[in-house]
Symmetry: C2
Subunit: 345 residues, 2 copies
DNA sequence: CTGAAAGCGCTTACAG
DNA sequence: CTGAAAGCGCTTACAG
């Protein structure tokens, strides 16, 4: 095949200048309608596509967004957080809908970020997805701010007010989940998940949990909270620690579905029946949740909507428009692991 | 912040020409070592990054690969095939390791492809991931070939020999799965999944299944095969059709894990105990497989390795090197749904 | 409405 | 070892 057609080739065939071709292809009203259509027809015939590198270089933008997914270093390579994957899907679609391309990259928190996408003019803005330990990369965010990078981060509100974060209302999610368990007459509700400021999202879910208890006149018992990171194995371990502690509990609210699934495995292994003896509520509504046994009652985050807001927000940032923090409402998905419903599965 | 530093800024500070800066930054031995280091230090200080648009325009390549994930139009938006997601992870990593960036896009089979990535110089090559109906996009592939695009497609070997495909050995996978069930004394093994040429991967799994039966002296019974596409719902329906048919069977081999999970749900609903009354083996080893109840015995495709081969292959294509079709071996993962193992869960 | 020209920020052949 | 210069393929201000 001959090498790619350029605007000069079209100009030659159309008998006009290259400038006119460029204008016509961008559908400029400056160009005579007839000429414009003729040029567009030739472009189509030659299978011409504007060279993005040339165009971007000239326009000084890239019409591209970068998505950085920062994984927990503890997760093994193949096991990507399913929640992120769901977000990835909706972000990709939202980006495409806005006429942008999406550069995707997975980053270990430990390693140096290739966050130079914007520096090298490969992307106009960056979306950060991370569930991990915020402390570890706080200084990296500072660097981004310093460099005046356009970026949004998914998750809890950040200490640094210059960081724009979009996230689900974790406090509300924790509140609703616990409220649901309380409504089912559970009094001793354990919480499995990190409650420190190192995991702001988990912490907010915990605080929502505590507030729901408080509303019911129950004081949160620190003995019923055990740390866990977002993996099945960690949930399994935390549940065992809880069981070994000998403290009485009739329900568990976990900071994530993965933790819940691990906890259920631990309970089963000890012969504890879910939900009859212990009710379990998870968080995220990952695909596995509905296939778990029993099917997991959980808090659903609307990833579809979240992806749209995330993309819309970076775009606003890029355009210099006003943007603000935003909390997305979550909602409860009742299945059978909480004992409220034994229809499914 | 001041606008981005360019090589001219560095040249000015270093008291050399812009050409020398460019050479120094690419670490050319042509530049005096000392000068080179001085220039690199200044670049670092200024936080300089080569402008990719300018560089790519000049070099006529983009150091970028595009990944097109073509979904089944039947799947709802949020439910992306988990197997693809796993591939996405490994492809992203393999791409990064090779110093390339990855542009990701989801495409409905129905709509027109934005497969103009390479045309517009945004990507040097394309990786196509699709589990769907090959017929539907055969002519789109023809167009890609015609345009001399560098692309690899994941999946079964393609009729058109000009198409480079990399895939797992579906025939072997089907053979091994069936062999395993036969070894467990199952004689009446049903197959759930499309066996037509419209789904070449499913068809190959079916053919492997048939050959394994043949090796055991069993003639495949067409009454035991029912079509299903790659969704849980379709598996559920197919299993019901099978149950309604009244034909005897003691095991089911499904063309995918999602189908298996749907089938198990149908069996449970009818009071059929898995694996005691009917053994089930799936295909893919998606994350859900190990959490299913009972945990799913399945055929694992090594997505890590597959991603690497895929990336390596497009890269070779781009460099004009020799590449050939390639089949990746699969292996059996024994869990409890086949009755061979009741340890887990 | 159209064309000639400048320039986006690089890389590299050419000349020294 | 270094510099001046051309050129990658566009977009757009300027002049007509």
């Amino acid at each position: 095949m001959a090498s790619k057609a350029t605007s000069i080739d079209i100009a030659y065939r159309a008998g006009v200048s290259q400038s006119t071709v460029s204008r016509a292809l961008r559908n400029s009203p400056l160009v005579n309608l007839e000429t414009r259509q003729r040029i567009q027809a030739i472009a189509k015939e030659l299978n011409y596509k504007v060279d993005k590198n040339a165009s971007n270089l000239r326009m000084q933008n890239s019409q591209t967004l970068a998505l950085l997914i920062c994984e927990d270093p503890t997760n093994d390579e193949s096991m990507i957080n399913p929640f992120f994957l769901s977000m990835l899907g909706s972000i990709t679609r939202a980006t495409a809908r806005q006429g942008y391309d999406l550069l995707v990259s997975f980053q270990q928190l430990s390693t140096d970020w290739h966050a130079d996408y914007e520096d090298s003019n490969k992307a106009d803005g960056i979306i950060l997805l991370g569930y991990g330990d915020y402390m570890d990369y706080a200084h990296k965010l500072d660097k981004l701010i310093e460099k005046n990078t356009h970026f949004v981060i998914w998750g809890a509100e950040h200490n640094n007010k210059a960081v724009l974060s979009i996230g689900c209302d974790n406090h509300q999610g924790g509140f609703v989940a616990t409220e649901h368990l309380l409504g089912l007459e559970h009094k001793h509700i354990a919480f499995l998940g990190d409650s420190s400021s190192r995991s702001p999202e988990f912490r907010d879910r915990y605080l929502g949990h505590v507030d729901a208890l408080k509303s019911a006149g129950i004081e949160a018992d620190k003995q019923l909270q055990h740390d866990a990171i977002n993996t099945e194995a960690s949930g399994y371990n935390a549940a065992n620690v809880l069981l070994d502690s000998g403290v009485t509990f009739d329900a568990i609210f976990t900071a994530s579905d993965l933790i819940a699934i691990g906890a259920i495995r631990a309970l089963k292994k000890r012969g504890v029946v879910v939900p009859d003896q212990v009710a379990v509520v998870g968080y995220d509504d990952i695909p596995v949740a509905s296939f778990a046994n029993p099917a997991l009652t959980t808090i659903k985050q609307d990833t579809q909507f979240a992806g749209e807001i995330l993309v819309e927000s970076v775009l606003k940032l890029i355009r210099g428009q006003e943007v603000s923090q935003r909390l997305i409402k979550t909602h409860l998905v009742v299945r059978s692991s909480c004992g409220a419903n034994v229809e499914d599965n």
